[in-house]
């Protein structure tokens, strides 16, 4: 219960932080925000002083600061994110749409990473110092050092441009999932393969493991009955940390592959100074992150009751 309360406090802090930051952003945009927004709405050739003034009056871009901030945060508390300055659509509507795309991409990436990383890690951990273990160490060190955009670049050049197997960008068909999900999954599996390997090596060194083998269980049975649960505890704990990578990765990877999700929307909103959109998408990423961490806390307590106390 304590865990949930502290996560709730964290969520409120995140909302206030993002709300205030976006408010300051609205107030102190470099250049004339009204011009930019008007240009975003009507196109760069058709914007003039009159339309900029109309936008300024409509959005209340000048006026005293403090009451405006209170009102801004009040709107936020009532989950009123306003309307996008560029498209004129309610922000919430756009976000709900984008959230589906982001969540499906993130889940695909996570699933893929769990298919790649832990099995390799467990195999390597069963034979510490073996060929697979050493190869895995080199591969995961390299992959961990490589930023996601670099992995994306290499995949695009190799798979999409040179081999022409898969499209470099797009959304809608299952094959569009492969490259962005693989980009995210490679970075994640570099970490979870190491965690699985270390956990497995530690467990295989324990007396209960040797006892299980001694009483005649095959290697497969020992692993299934005595190994997997132990390996899963650090993996689930690190899932929380991996979501940092995932949420950040989503911002970059979606922009690179043109995936119509939250991260892509955030980058675009920042580019066109669409502050309500920035607020909505940033809030969604931040709160989603807190929510995931709360879920991880609960899951770890369930798997390993010793941590609950």
């Amino acid at each position: 219960m304590n865990v949930l309360v502290s996560r709730l406090v964290q969520a409120v802090m995140v909302a206030v932080l993002i709300g205030t930051a976006t408010f300051v952003m609205m107030r102190s945009l470099p250049g004339d925000a009204a011009w930019r927004i008007a240009a975003g709405r009507y196109g760069y050739d058709r914007v003039d002083a009159a339309s900029a003034d109309a936008v300024r009056a409509e959005l209340g871009l000048d006026g005293p600061t403090l009451p405006a901030l209170v009102q801004w945060l009040g709107d936020l508390a009532r989950f009123d994110f306003g309307t996008s300055l560029v498209t004129g659509q309610p922000v919430i509507k756009e976000i709900v749409h984008q959230l589906g795309a982001t969540v499906s991409l993130a889940l695909a990436a996570l699933l893929l990473s769990l298919l790649i990383g832990p099995p390799l890690g467990i195999l390597a951990g069963l034979r510490p110092g073996g060929a697979l273990d050493r190869a895995l160490l080199v591969a995961s060190t390299g992959l961990k050092a490589a930023p996601q955009f670099l992995i994306a670049l290499v995949l695009i050049v190799l798979v999409a441009v040179q081999l022409r197997w898969l499209p470099a960008a797009g959304h809608g068909e299952p094959r569009h999932f492969i490259l962005p999900a693989l980009t995210l999954a490679l970075g994640l599996s570099a970490v979870n393969a190491r965690i699985a390997r270390d956990a497995m090596a530690r467990i295989a060194d324990m007396p209960y493991w040797r006892f299980a083998q001694w009483k005649g269980l095959s290697e497969r049975q020992t692993l299934l009955r005595h190994g997997l649960r132990g390996v899963s505890v650090p993996l689930v704990t690190y899932l929380g940390l991996q979501f940092v990578t995932l949420v950040e990765g989503v911002i970059i990877v979606e922009s690179i592959f043109g995936w119509p999700g939250i991260g892509h929307a955030l980058v675009h909103a920042i580019f066109s100074r669409d502050v309500p959109m920035v607020q909505g998408t940033a809030l969604m990423l931040g709160l989603g992150f807190v929510l995931i961490n709360a879920a991880i806390d609960l899951a770890v307590n369930r798997l390993d009751p010793r941590t609950a106390s």
Binding site: M13, A21, L29, A146, Y238, E248, I251, V267, F289
Partner: protein
């Protein structure tokens, strides 16, 4: 900003990894600082007739799509990102160290307020924070400096606070206090030697994180603006010309990877 874990390696391999890391970083720094002396040239000078041409004596890595020497753009980029990164890490390290030791030493509401603040900041993905700051602060380099400092100081704060709290409770510090030594002495002789090695590791990771963020945001057109030579920006500019000039694209890719790998290896393992 990626989750990093510690690899339980045997001692010699840790040292070897550190050695490789140091060599990589020093080699790239030497290239960045001395490259311009060996082959003089201008990263902004264009000669459109040579667009996408191969390497020659005055441009060892060939030319980009606007006929600018890739070599000279690369060495400029290799100075820019590490400079911003080091400035941010220095600022973040100082802030985190001061606030962290202060929080542990004072306790009470100072500590509680700082912990709540860092918890809230930790709940924001770092890249998101940098993006928001970049949108608010005029000047991209300044924005990166402020934004990255804001992201990186948390790690230093947490390390400094944890280590200080542990050290302050030790019998050695109690003895010093009983002997009447002041806080400055206690910090210098007891706390700093505990923190210093951790701070160095955190600084190497922080530098890698910062360089990675600058390049990543450059790559999606939200970081440095053209025509500034920047690693991520160079890659995204040269990506469409991969077939015509593979070397031009590969050089920033390899340089960035080598730099980040070097810094990660240099940092070595870290307790998480």
């Amino acid at each position: 900003m990626t989750a990093t874990t510690d690899l339980p390696l045997r001692r010699p391999s840790v040292l070897r990894a550190r050695g490789v890391g140091t060599t990589l970083v020093l080699a790239l720094l030497a290239l960045a600082l001395l490259g311009g002396l060996i082959v003089p040239g201008d990263p902004y000078a264009q000669s459109l007739t040579k667009a996408l041409a191969g390497p020659e004596a005055t441009a060892p890595l060939g030319y980009d799509h606007l006929g600018r020497s890739v070599f000279h753009r690369l060495i400029h980029a290799l100075r820019l990102s590490p400079l911003i990164a080091l400035a941010a890490v220095a600022m973040a390290g100082a802030t985190g160290l001061i606030l962290g030791t202060l929080a542990a030493a004072r306790g009470g509401w100072v500590e509680r307020a700082l912990v709540i603040l860092t918890d809230a900041l930790l709940a924001l993905p770092g890249l998101l924070l940098v993006l928001i700051v970049l949108a608010m602060v005029p000047g991209t380099a300044l924005g990166f400096w402020v934004g990255l400092t804001l992201v990186l100081w948390i790690e230093f704060f947490r390390l400094a606070r944890a280590a200080t709290r542990e050290t302050l409770a030790s019998p050695a510090v109690q003895a010093s206090q009983l002997l009447g030594f002041g806080p400055v002495y206690i910090f210098r002789t007891h706390i700093w030697p505990e923190i210093a090695p951790m701070m160095l590791t955190a600084a190497a990771f922080g530098t890698a994180t910062a360089i990675m963020s600058i390049a990543a945001l450059g790559f999606v057109h939200t970081g440095m603006r053209a025509p500034t030579p920047e690693l991520g920006l160079m890659m995204v500019e040269l990506l469409p010309y991969w077939r015509e000039a593979p070397l031009a694209l590969l050089s920033p890719v390899i340089a960035t990877f080598a730099l980040l790998l070097g810094l990660t290896l240099l940092a070595g393992s870290r307790e998480t």
